[in-house]
């Protein structure tokens, strides 16, 4: 699964016709070859005064480090904006950010939880991400991995079988997953917790620092 990073632009003058973000990701300490590893996206015109523009970028969870022969979950994000304005184009400076991750753990002492995701977003709730959590002891080849849940046709069977597999695991259950973002940025975060078996006890809710909360309600704030 990927994650999403909103990049915005505010017109400083009239006459801006289009803004494009050019970007590339590299391993730490490396610089991109813009002629090869380069992506570009047009920012969406959101109107207003001053006019704002936005593009939610789909970001990788890791970047291949060709020099060292491994993938790295922390990497460098390079970008600049190209602005078409009053019949000419101009470009901003080149910016670079360190993309880093934060691992979260949800500890369930009673084995009550059958499904849990980190629900999080960079900055505000404009581009939320679900990161399914798993106890690392759960079998990696199981059909009941959290990442397989959404497409699993027989949800009741999934709920039943996962519940019983979890019941056989020693407690506490330590559900884990990962969030990403640029170093220094804030992430907003809740958990989405499910108790899906037995059917008569089915319960599903968002959890924030104040307990159960609406989605995007009470939430934690992390600084990366």
């Amino acid at each position: 699964m990927t994650w999403y990073y909103p990049k915005g632009w505010t017109d400083q003058e009239a006459g801006v016709e289009q803004v494009v973000i050019h970007y590339a990701c590299t391993p730490p300490e490396q610089v991109p070859d813009w002629s090869w590893e380069h992506e570009s996206r047009v920012l969406e015109d959101r109107g207003g005064f001053p006019r704002t523009r936005l593009k939610v970028l789909r970001m990788p969870r890791e970047v291949w480090d060709m020099e060292n022969g491994w993938s790295t979950p922390e990497y460098r994000f390079h970008y600049w904006f190209e602005v078409f304005q009053n019949g000419h184009r101009w470009t901003t400076d080149l910016f670079s950010e360190d993309i880093v991750y934060r691992d979260l753990e949800y500890v369930d002492h009673h084995g009550w939880t059958t499904n849990v995701c980190i629900y999080w977003s960079v900055g505000d709730w404009s581009a939320p991400v679900y990161s399914p959590m798993e106890d690392p002891r759960f079998p990696g080849d199981s059909d009941y991995l959290a990442t397989k849940y959404y497409a699993y046709q027989d949800k009741e069977r999934f709920h039943h079988d996962k519940y019983w597999m979890l019941q056989h695991m020693e407690r506490p259950h330590r559900w884990q997953s990962r969030m990403y973002g640029p170093r220094g940025a804030t992430l907003v975060q809740q958990f989405h917790v499910g108790h899906m078996w037995p059917p008569e006890e089915k319960d599903e809710f968002w959890l924030g620092p104040d307990g159960r909360a609406p989605a995007n309600g009470s939430h934690w704030v992390h600084t990366l």
Binding site: T2, S35, E39, R41, Y150, K155
Partner: protein, 212 residues
């Protein structure tokens, strides 16, 4: 990581109040192939001011899949309402590309771009895209390319081509959807830099529309 993509807005309308969250799961395959949902992208649709109950998300779809411009895009929605969640049926659409050609009789423009978007029903919601059109006769253009890092230095090559100049670029979307586009005319690399300029040809305002 370089992958040429286009932006496509997907929509959902709440059938009743009380829905807490809607996700879309998306995966692309060659035509006729079954989706592998473990490869899917997932987006949370966020509420839109454009209509009551409307939620949208912009997904990214490849401009080519296994070298082909046409392929299948599969998606389903996962909906949470209170302590209940449910999954929609899987929808499969055929993504098709169409060529747009632009005949330029003067030879004044070195680059032609197509700014385009697929309407998801409401034209204002079309997610913006850009294709650099390739000039007939120049062998190094790719009619599927997105915006380059900077305009290619091809002024002399373009001037050497016989008139009229015909530029061709591709647009994409689900079959049957409308694509609205305008044309971006650029002159760069002129012997006198002050002659470099660009204009947008929008057909007097509305642009042009084609049905995929």
């Amino acid at each position: 990581m370089s992958e040429e993509c286009f932006a496509l807005r997907r929509t959902w309308v709440d059938p009743a109040p009380g829905i807490d969250m809607v996700q879309i799961h998306v995966v692309c395959t060659p035509l006729g192939a079954e989706p592998d949902w473990e490869e899917a992208d997932t987006r949370v649709l966020t509420p839109s001011d454009a209509a009551p109950g409307l939620r949208t998300a912009v997904i990214e779809a490849p401009r080519r899949l296994d070298g082909r411009t046409d392929y299948s895009l599969h998606h389903f929605f996962f909906v949470v309402q209170g302590a209940q969640s449910r999954t929609s049926p899987v929808f499969t659409e055929e993504i098709v590309a169409r060529e747009i050609s632009y005949e330029e009789p003067t030879g004044d423009w070195t680059h032609v771009g197509i700014a385009w978007g697929v309407s998801p029903g409401l034209p204002d919601l079309a997610a913006p895209n850009y294709t650099v059109a390739a000039l007939d006769g120049l062998g190094f253009g790719d009619p599927a390319a997105g915006a380059p890092a900077e305009p290619a230095p091809i002024h002399e090559f373009v001037r050497a081509q016989p008139l009229p100049h015909v530029f061709r670029g591709l647009v994409w979307g689900p079959r049957g959807f409308d694509v609205r586009y305008v044309v971006h005319l650029v002159r760069s690399g002129s012997p006198r830099p002050e002659d470099d300029t660009e204009v947008w040809d929008d057909n007097g305002g509305p642009g042009w529309t084609l049905t995929l």
